[in-house]
C-alpha cells in the first residue's frame, strides 16, 4: 500500500460546513430522545437504551467531528485496540463481581 499517496488524499479532505451542521442536529436530536426516554420507566432496559444512544452519539463525533473516517486506516486500528482493551477489562472484572 502506498501510504504517502494516501496521506496526500487525506490531507486534501476538508469536511464541508453542512456536514458538521447536520451531525450537530443529529446529536441534539439524540440528546432530546435520550432525555425523553429516561422519563419512561423501562427498568433494566433503560440503561441499555441510554448507553446505546450514547454510543451512537460518540460514533458520530469520532467519525465526523474527529474525522477518523477520512484519516489513516491505522488510526482506526489503534482505536479498536484501545476499545477492545477497555472491553476486556470490563468483562474480566465482571466475571469476578457477578459470580461473587
Amino acid at each position: 500500500m502506498n501510504e504517502d499517496k494516501q496521506n496526500k488524499e487525506n490531507h486534501e479532505h476538508i469536511t464541508p460546513y453542512s456536514t458538521y451542521v447536520l451531525v450537530w442536529l443529529a446529536l441534539i436530536a439524540l440528546t432530546s430522545i435520550t432525555v425523553t426516554v429516561s422519563g419512561i420507566d423501562f427498568g433494566m432496559v433503560a440503561l441499555a437504551i441510554a448507553m446505546l444512544i450514547a454510543a451512537v452519539k460518540s460514533s458520530l463525533v469520532i467519525n465526523i467531528f474527529m474525522h477518523i473516517k477520512f484519516d489513516e486506516p491505522i488510526f482506526k486500528v489503534f482505536l479498536m485496540v484501545s476499545l477492545f482493551t477497555l472491553v476486556i477489562i470490563f468483562v474480566l472484572t465482571f466475571f469476578d463481581l457477578v459470580n461473587r
Binding site: 466475571f95 469476578d96 459470580n99
Partner: protein, 547 residues
C-alpha cells in the same frame, strides 16, 4: 572521544550538540535522543544503586532473628521504598528509556525520535517524579510504609506521606506514557527506506509492544492512585470500606496496570536477548516472525491475567479458575521465545563474549522465575505460597534475574557503541560469574523458606529460618561487590578505556553501520535497508565500507 586515528573522522554526538550551549546546559537542553538516553542512564543507575543499598540493609536486618539494626517500622518503610524505587524508578523506565531512546532511532535508520522535545520533557517529568519520591522521605509524617502496592484501606489510613509518594508514582507514569507515545509514532513514521515491518530488529518489535502497554495500561493506575489521594485529602468515598467502598476493586484496578507492567519490564529485555544471541552465534535468528508476534501476543495476553495476584483476596471462585487458566497461556509465547533463542544457537559458531554470557545467565534465571510462576499461577499451590518468600523469590528471579541481568547485558553489548570505548573483558567475565553465584545465593534460599512458610515483609522470623537467612544475606554482600566491580569497570573504561572499533562484536543491525560513538544525526545519509535484520552475509560488505 575521537582520538584522531582516522584523519577524516567526523564529530561524534558528544562534540556536536542540538543547541547553542556547551557544557552541562548542552546536555540539560538537548533534544538528541542519544544524549537523552545517557541522561536516563545516569539518573536511573543512581536510583538503582539507592535501591541496591536499601536491599542490602534489609538483608542485614534479617541476618539474625529479632531487631538487629532497625525496628519494625523502619523495615516497613525500607521494603516499601526498595519496591517503589526499583519498580517505578529503575526497572519500568530502565530498558525502554535508556536503550530504547539510544538505539530505537539508530536501529530503524532515523535521525531522531518523532517528538524530540517531548522526549526531553519525559526525562524532566521522570526527574520531577524522582525528586517527589525523595521529598516524601524527609517531610514530617515519615516515609511511606504501605508496601509498593499501596493497598487499600491501609494506604488511606497510614499517617505517613502516602499522598506525595503515590503522586510521584502518578508523575512517573506520565513520563512512561509520553515515552511510549513517542516510540510508537517513531516506529510508524520514521523507518528508513526499505525497512519494512519484518526487517525491523527484534528489539524494535519488543519496544513497540512495550510502548503499547505503556500507553494503554498506565492511565488505569494513574486514575486509581489519583483517587486514593482524593480519598485521603477530601474523604471522597471510592475504595475505603468505611466510606462504602470495596478494597477488592482497588486491587483489580491496581493489577490491571501492574500486571501488564511486568511485561513493560520484561519485554524489552527479551528484545535485547534476541539481538545479542544472533550476533554472538553468527547465525540469523531462528523463527523471526514467531518471536516478533510473540512480543505482541505477550503484550496482549498480559492484559488477561491480572487477578492471579488476588487469588486469596476474596474474588469469586469462577474468576479464580478463569484467571488461573489464562495465566498458564502466558507461558506459551514466553516459551516460543526461549525455544527460538536456543534453536538459534544450535550449530552456530558461538563467541562467548560478556554480553552473551549475560544472556546465558538470563535464560537460566528467567526460566526458573517463569516456571515458579506456574506454581503460583495454579490455584491450589498459590493458596499455600501466597505472600510468602516464595513469591519474593519468584519475582526477583523474573525481574532482577530477567530484566536486571539483561540491563547489564545490554549495557555490556552496546557500551562500545555508546561511548566508543571498550571495557575490560576479563573483569566483565568475572562480574557475570560472580553475579550468577551471588544471585542464586541471595534468592534461591527464599524459595525454600517460602515453601516452609516464611511470610514476606516481616522484619523478624522464627529461629529455624536462621541458616537460610544468613546464606541469603551473605549472597547480598556478594551481590554488592559484583555491582561495585561492574560499575567500576564501566566507569573506568568511559574515562580511560581503549578506543573501541566501530563494530567490535560483528553485529549487522543498523546501529553497527555507523561510527562509535555515532555522529549527531546518526548516519551520514539515511541508509536504505536491503537485508533482513540478522543477515550476516553483509558483514564482509561492512568491512569494506568502513575502509
Amino acid at each position: 572521544m575521537a582520538n584522531g586515528t582516522v584523519a577524516l573522522e567526523e564529530k561524534s554526538f558528544y562534540e556536536e550538540s542540538t543547541n547553542k550551549y556547551s557544557g552541562i546546559l548542552s546536555w540539560l537542553l538537548t533534544t538528541d535522543h542519544k544524549r537523552i538516553g545517557l541522561l536516563y542512564l545516569v539518573t536511573i543507575c543512581a536510583f538503582f544503586i539507592v535501591g541496591v543499598i536499601l536491599g542490602i540493609l534489609m538483608r542485614l536486618e534479617l541476618i539474625a532473628p529479632g531487631p538487629t539494626i532497625m525496628e519494625a517500622q523502619t523495615y516497613n518503610t525500607l521494603f516499601t521504598l526498595h519496591g517503589v524505587i526499583m519498580i517505578f524508578l529503575f526497572i519500568i523506565p530502565g530498558l525502554p528509556a535508556i536503550f530504547g531512546n539510544f538505539f530505537l532511532p539508530l536501529q530503524i535508520g532515523a535521525k531522531d525520535v518523532a517528538f524530540p522535545r517531548l522526549n526531553l520533557l519525559s526525562w524532566y517529568i521522570y526527574v520531577i517524579g524522582a525528586i517527589l519520591v525523595l521529598i516524601s522521605l524527609f517531610l514530617p509524617g515519615g516515609p511511606i510504609d504501605t508496601g509498593w502496592t499501596f493497598y487499600i484501606p491501609y494506604s488511606v489510613r497510614s499517617t505517613t506521606n502516602v499522598s506525595l509518594a503515590i503522586f510521584a508514582a502518578f508523575v512517573l507514569g506520565f513520563s512512561s506514557i509520553l515515552t511510549g507515545l513517542n516510540f510508537i509514532t517513531t516506529v510508524h513514521r520514521m523507518r528508513a527506506p526499505g525497512m519494512g515491518w519484518f526487517r525491523m530488529p527484534l528489539f524494535i518489535w519488543s519496544i513497540y509492544s512495550t510502548a503499547w502497554i505503556q500507553i494503554i495500561a498506565t492511565p488505569v493506575i494513574g486514575i486509581t492512585i489519583l483517587l486514593v489521594i482524593m480519598e485521603r485529602a477530601f474523604g471522597v468515598g471510592i475504595f475505603d470500606p468505611a466510606l462504602g467502598g470495596d478494597p477488592i476493586l482497588y486491587q483489580h484496578l491496581f493489577w490491571i496496570y501492574s500486571h501488564p507492567a511486568v511485561y513493560i519490564m520484561v519485554l524489552p529485555a527479551m528484545g535485547v536477548v534476541s539481538e545479542i544471541i544472533p550476533t554472538f552465534a553468527r547465525r540469523t535468528i531462528f523463527g523471526y516472525k514467531a518471536i516478533a508476534f510473540s512480543s505482541l501476543a505477550i503484550a496482549f495476553v498480559g492484559y488477561l491475567v491480572w487477578a492471579h495476584h488476588m487469588f486469596t483476596s476474596g474474588i469469586s471462585d469462577t474468576a479464580r479458575w478463569i484467571f488461573s487458566l489464562l495465566t498458564f497461556i502466558v507461558a506459551l509465547p514466553s516459551g516460543v521465545k526461549v525455544f527460538n533463542w536456543v534453536a538459534t544457537m544450535y550449530k552456530g559458531s558461538i563467541d562467548p563474549k560478556p554480553p552473551f554470557l549475560w544472556v546465558m545467565s538470563f535464560i537460566v534465571l528467567f526460566s526458573i522465575g517463569g516456571l515458579t510462576g506456574l506454581v503460583l499461577g495454579s490455584l491450589a499451590t498459590d493458596i499455600h505460597l501466597h505472600d510468602t518468600y516464595f513469591v519474593v523469590a519468584h519475582f526477583h528471579y523474573v525481574m532482577f534475574g530477567g530484566t536486571g541481568t539483561i540491563f547489564f547485558g545490554a549495557l555490556f553489548y552496546w557500551f562500545p557503541k555508546m561511548f566508543g570505548k571498550m571495557y575490560s573483558i576479563k573483569w566483565a567475565n568475572i562480574s557475570v560469574a560472580l553475579f550468577f553465584i551471588a544471585f542464586n545465593m541471595l534468592y534461591f534460599p527464599k524459595f525454600i523458606m517460602g515453601y516452609m512458610g516464611m511470610p514476606r515483609r516481616y522484619f523478624d522470623y522464627l529461629p529455624e529460618f536462621t541458616n537460610l537467612q544468613v546464606i541469603s544475606t551473605v549472597g547480598s554482600w556478594l551481590m554488592g561487590i559484583t555491582m561495585i566491580i561492574i560499575f567500576a569497570n564501566l566507569i573506568y573504561s568511559v574515562k580511560k578505556g581503549k578506543k573501541s572499533p566501530e563494530n567490535p562484536w560483528g553485529g549487522v543491525t543498523l546501529e553497527w553501520h555507523t561510527a562509535s560513538p555515532p555522529p549527531l544525526e546518526n548516519f551520514h545519509e539515511i541508509p536504505t535497508v536491503t537485508h533482513e535484520p540478522y543477515d550476516f552475509s553483509q558483514l564482509e560488505e561492512m568491512k569494506h565500507e568502513s575502509k
